[in-house]
């Protein structure tokens, strides 16, 4: 693994327009290996658009994204996971009819290679691969306290639980970089505390770099090494949490005037 401090992800001059609306306007920043980077901004600032560019669901009109010195823009969306980028979705994107275990097993897809023919014939190496896939998924269910729900369909589980299933599924591909979109949405105070601890463990014990989009300021300021602030598609601030919190431009973007940014949840 490269030394901490080298950029694992570089976003350069990224611009995305939807018709006449500029969703991202020349955004540039780096994410360093081993860091937790918080990406914040008021609603509509372009955070999720940026995530969707990183997972190649959108193609930017201008700019470049490189991951470990390789441009992502040359690759289709389904090749991103195998490079080592995992993600979760803001409004949940699970497979409702599959069980919790199967959902996480789909996450291993990018790391396995059996195909239609070898699956239909159930060749010995396919059986082994399937066993390893199941093993890996079970390990992640244990890590995220989801073991009892393994055989439960994803449909019908509480929102907070499904967020953890998504996290398990994203980790299943052994990502080097994890994109987490609003993990604290819908969680209560205690759960947010547990989430902060969990994200730290994922970084420290699994060596995963994390890019976090989040509205919960307490969480972002508590765990981020660096915070990037977007407003109307432009980057208005970047730096350590304490400095960003005092930045007058950030305070203005969030609150209009006067009040400190930390007052907003």
């Amino acid at each position: 693994m490269p030394a901490p401090g080298t950029p694992i992800l570089s976003v350069r001059d990224l611009t995305v327009r939807f018709g006449g609306i500029v969703a991202l306007d020349g955004v540039s920043f780096d994410v360093s290996e081993g860091q937790i980077v918080g990406l914040i901004g008021p609603n509509g600032a372009g955070k999720t658009t940026l995530f969707n560019c990183l997972s190649r669901l959108y193609t930017p009109q201008r700019g470049d994204i490189s991951f470990r010195d390789r441009s992502l823009l040359a690759l289709p969306a389904h090749r991103i996971a195998e490079l080592g980028i995992g993600r979760t979705f803001q409004n949940l994107a699970l497979f409702p009819t599959l069980t919790v275990l199967q959902n996480v097993m789909v996450g291993v897809h990018a790391r396995t290679r059996s195909d239609f023919l070898s699956n239909a014939l159930r060749l010995p190496w396919v059986r082994r691969e399937e066993e390893e896939t199941r093993e890996r998924a079970r390990e992640l269910l244990a890590f995220l306290d989801l073991e009892v729900l393994a055989a439960h369909p994803a449909a019908g589980l509480p929102f907070g639980t499904l967020k953890r299933v998504e996290l398990a599924r994203a980790l299943a591909s052994r990502p080097a970089l994890l994109l987490v979109d609003e993990p604290a949405g819908g969680l209560n105070h205690e759960e947010v505390g547990a989430l902060a601890a969990l994200l730290r463990v994922i970084r420290e014990r699994r060596g995963v770099t994390i890019l976090l989009v989040e509205h919960h300021m307490g969480l972002v300021m508590q765990i981020s090494d660096t915070v990037v602030v977007l407003d109307f598609g432009r980057k208005i601030a970047e730096g350590p949490p304490a400095r960003v919190q005092r930045d007058p431009e950030v305070i203005r973007a969030y609150l209009g005037v006067d009040e400190p940014a930390g007052a907003r949840r």
Binding site: P76, R87, P96, V106, H109, T112, S114, N119
Partner: protein
């Protein structure tokens, strides 16, 4: 508990299937051979529509392609019939895969309409290539005799032959759907964007699924040509395609055993309807259809699953 019930059900079904030629008349047996043929076609359509979420109203076209491949190979070149089945499967695999590529741009009802166009066109296309297909007259074949000097009637032999093909294809489909590929196929249906983010090449998987689905239906068509010993264009009309979709839904979407239940339904319920009312059999059939959907909204397989799950719960409750 439900797994054991499933295994028991499977063993019982196989035992009944093996014993059937000794207890029913040749005509009834011919009908059950048809059930086996339909079951293969329905399984193919179910992989596409039930598991992958692509609706096809045109699988009759692949059934026809398979049937005519077999009929032409036997009629023109005397190719041994088991080989023609393989040829029909491969040809439909390629045709389905190729059709699946433009189909990627069509979702839901639009795809249904595009496949419907295929079903509409096929009888006329078959008539047009008269030199090969025999035009409206079709092609008459002869039923193959049992091999190895077996003392069985041709109908009995064809029944076992169809049963063997069915068992092989069902095992392959079960393997396919239970593994990495099957999870990806269902993931695409449930949430294509998330499937892509997990590394699933959704375009390739959808086209390949279309190909596999068409191959199953093509093999079924090839078998039907051998079993009936006759092909004619008007047997492969739009109604056949709709009957297949009916069978898949009634049997149970995204269920392997549902293909068997659906095949029993499309083979026997029209006959019962005929027995009940000679004047308006399709009205009776319609009543059956609505009744089934009302009582078993998840198909026959879905209803059985629910009964088994309830029995299992009661079992654990009684022991506790």
């Amino acid at each position: 508990m439900t797994a054991r019930a499933g295994a028991l059900g499977l063993a019982a079904a196989l035992a009944v299937a093996l014993a059937l030629p000794f207890v029913v008349s040749n005509f009834r047996l011919f009908q059950f051979t048809q059930v086996g043929v339909y079951a293969i076609a329905l399984l193919g359509l179910n992989v596409l529509t039930g598991y992958n979420g692509q609706i096809s109203l045109g699988h009759g076209a692949f059934y026809a392609l398979g049937a005519y491949t077999t009929a032409i190979l036997i009629d023109h070149w005397n190719v041994p019939y088991p080989l023609t089945i393989i040829a029909a499967g491969v040809l439909c695999l390629v045709a389905g895969f190729l059709f699946g590529i433009p189909a990627l741009r069509l979702e839901g009802l639009y795809l249904a309409l595009a496949t419907f166009a295929l079903a509409l066109a096929i009888p006329q296309i078959l008539k047009y290539f008269e030199h090969w297909t025999g035009g409206s007259q079709g092609i008459v074949l002869s039923k193959p005799a049992p091999p190895w000097g077996m003392k069985a009637s041709p109908d009995q032999w064809l029944y076992y032959f169809t049963l063997a093909v069915l068992v092989i294809l069902f095992v392959l489909a079960r393997n396919l759907l239970a593994g990495r590929t099957g999870r990806a196929i269902v993931a695409i249906r449930d949430n294509p964007i998330a499937a892509q983010a997990m590394g699933v090449n959704t375009a390739l998987y959808k086209s390949l699924t279309f190909g596999v689905s068409a191959a199953y239906t093509g093999v079924a068509g090839a078998l039907s040509a051998i079993v009936i010993a006759f092909v004619a264009p008007d047997a492969f009309n739009v109604f056949l395609s709709i009957t297949f979709l009916t069978g898949v839904v009634i049997g149970g979407l995204a269920s392997i055993s549902g293909a068997i239940f659906g095949a029993l339904f499309i083979q026997f319920v029209p006959n019962w309807a005929q027995d009940i009312s000679k004047a308006a059999p399709w009205a009776i059939y319609g009543v059956f259809l609505i009744g089934f959907m009302y009582v078993m909204p998840f198909g026959i397989a879905g209803a059985l699953r629910r009964v088994a799950a309830r029995a299992a719960r009661r079992g654990t409750a009684a022991r506790a």
